[in-house]
């Protein structure tokens, strides 16, 4: 694509857009905000994403070229627990109200079979396992907050539908994103969260199948900690996207927590140790990594950063720091938070740009290029909350 076409497509002639693009090309980022300030920033953007949709869901992203996208059920789902945590942290009831409106919206768009559609609501798409799993997380949180059984009922129906999609090996190949992959550990984790909330209402045979499925997912990890089938996108074969590594690791940690399964925890430690040393030595991690963890250069001469993956890794690192008492992981997590917070510390009159977390840094990196994405905002917010001593805790598996 020519430079002129890029300028036209992404409206880089707009002052705010141009400032963002040029700043990224020059290696400039915002001043490093304190965590409390970064948290206010990111929730300001999250509020804008909900206001943009107007239907109770959160807009998937703000594209510099086309503006706000329609609401995204999947990411609205996992924004619910983060908003509830934020409401507890700040004491602002508006956030719990927003979270519950989002949960009601999700109830309203649940498909008759029990699952939820993939992609955004302005796109025709059938039910998808991964998307459904993330929504379960939100409904479990809504149920825990409100005690309203409707959310748990919907979650149980969703979980039942997802379990129907599981094949004999424990993978979710049908009706799933890219035929499934290691990132589906987070689906298993969300199913376990439903099981934990529902108690005996969650079928025992499903729990057995989830336990057995974990074997298959653990087998996707190579001895050096890298995960196979860890990229939704097939544009770069045999690479893992840091965002999807983040899903995988967080999923395994939650499985370890709920099931007391130490092997899942150890699998996370194997990958985390590699990522920690690579990050601390280079002070950056590539968006895409090859099987030996070396960077895939999506920008020709260099590799872009995947900021969602940065925040997810910061969450995983903070959980490991707590579980293992290893402050080196907290150290790296604080640095990751600083990087994402500084990049997102961008003032603009445009609510889509202001304090939004871009998919990639620089913004023309391959992953979600020229877009501020709501899932990046969600994970940044969750990581900041954890660093401030709030957010979901982690038990150490026995």
């Amino acid at each position: 694509m020519s430079k002129f076409a890029t300028i036209k497509e992404h409206r880089l002639y707009r002052p705010g857009h141009a400032r963002k693009f040029i700043g990224d090309q020059l290696g400039l980022v915002g001043r490093t905000p304190r965590p409390e300030q970064a948290l206010r920033n990111v929730f300001e953007w999250i509020a804008a994403s909900f206001d943009a949709g107007g239907d109770g869901g959160s807009s998937a992203y703000y594209a510099m070229g086309r503006g706000w996208k329609a609401s995204y059920p999947e990411t609205t789902g996992y924004l619910i627990p983060t908003m509830l945590d934020h409401a507890r942290f700040t004491g602002e009831a508006a956030w719990s109200q927003r979270a519950m409106r989002a949960a009601d919206w999700l109830l309203g768009i649940q498909l008759p079979g029990g699952g939820w559609q993939g992609l955004q609501v302005d796109v025709t798409c059938g039910p998808r396992v991964f998307n459904t799993g993330m929504i379960l997380d939100g409904l479990v949180a809504a149920h825990a907050f409100s005690g309203d059984d409707r959310y748990l009922e919907a979650a149980l129906r969703g979980a039942g539908w997802a379990m129907e999609q599981m094949d004999a090996n424990g993978f979710f190949v049908e009706n799933n994103v890219s035929g499934g992959g290691s990132f589906d550990t987070l689906v298993l984790a969300c199913l376990l969260l439903v099981a934990r909330s529902a108690g005996p209402r969650f079928p025992a045979e499903h729990l057995d199948r989830i336990r057995r499925a974990l074997e298959s997912y653990l087998a996707l990890q190579r001895p050096n900690g890298w995960f196979e089938r860890c990229n939704f996108h097939t544009s770069y074969p045999d690479t893992a996207l840091l965002h999807h590594v983040g899903y995988t690791l967080d999923g395994l940690l939650i499985c370890a927590e709920v099931l007391g399964e130490r092997r899942c925890h150890d699998a996370v430690l194997r990958a985390a140790a590699k990522l920690l040393s690579r990050f601390e030595v280079d002070l950056q991690l590539p968006a895409y990594s090859k099987p030996d963890w070396s960077p895939y250069k999506d920008l020709g001469g260099g590799a872009s950063l995947c900021l969602t993956g940065y925040s997810q890794l910061a969450i995983v690192f903070q959980k490991i720091a707590r579980a293992e008492g290893d402050l080196r992981y907290l150290n790296a997590a604080l640095k990751l938070n600083d990087i994402v917070g500084s990049i997102a510390h961008f003032r603009s009159a445009d609510r889509g740009l202001r304090y939004g977390v871009p998919g990639a840094y620089p913004i023309n990196g391959n992953y979600q290029r020229f877009q501020m994405v709501n899932w990046a905002a969600k994970y940044h917010a969750e990581s900041l909350l954890l660093s401030l001593g709030h957010g979901r805790s982690l038990r150490v598996p026995a």
Partner: protein, 281 residues
Amino acid sequence: MKRVVLLIGGRSPAHASGFVQAYEQLGGRPDALLLLEPSARRPAWVSALLRPLKALRPGRWKGYAVDLVRGLTGTQRMAALKASWNVPKGESSWALLPPGIDLVAHAQGKGIPVHIRPALKASVIEELCRQGPTVFVLYAGGVIPDALLQVPGAEFVNAHMGAMPRYRGMNVIEWAVLEGTVPKVSVMLMTAAIDGGDVIFEREIPLDGERTLADLRRTGFLHCYLAMAEGVFRYARGLSVAVPQPKGARYYYRMHGVLRQRSQEALRQRTASPAAARVAP
């Protein structure tokens, strides 16, 4: 007995000066001094004249343009953000230790041969090792290239402010305080693996009233050269042996400001009472 050659990157580094004085107090005397110094030293007045011209080189213009945009937009360079995790400038050995003596003049006054070379090459090391096995006491910074490590009879020694193998890497004295362990100095033979060499000497760093991390680092640097002097003195005379590091290495990295604060609080608590300063290793 092995020969001892002091390898320095400047004429009066404070820690190298401290080493020489401590080594001499123990009854030792370096066999030679190897100073790495670029041969073509430009007179100061020439450098002063050239400085403004250098600033106008075309290669610098992009940097000025970036700085202009940075100033206008109230942003910072990503590199500056990452540099904020480095040890503050005032906490280097140069800033914390008293000025060193002129080691070249000191050596010449004592009849110690001084070799001045522009760069560290295998041929230089080979030349100095001709008279027998030699321990090079490293105060020139950096990593020793493999070709030098392979020179027969040559051993390079450095001091590290952490117990091995538990505290490899950076800011380890601050990490030890944060983690509530006893800070130590390890004197090691250098190998290709960073901080992975055999240990020839180890000693505790006693804490006594340090209030800030700068105080802590000053104490650390002081005990580094004292330990280096004692370790090299014993090793060169065959009074100690090199012990391979056991398994269980941990690498530490630059400490984030939040943890630096916690480390400083831990230091204050620990040094507030003499009993608290002694904790389990």
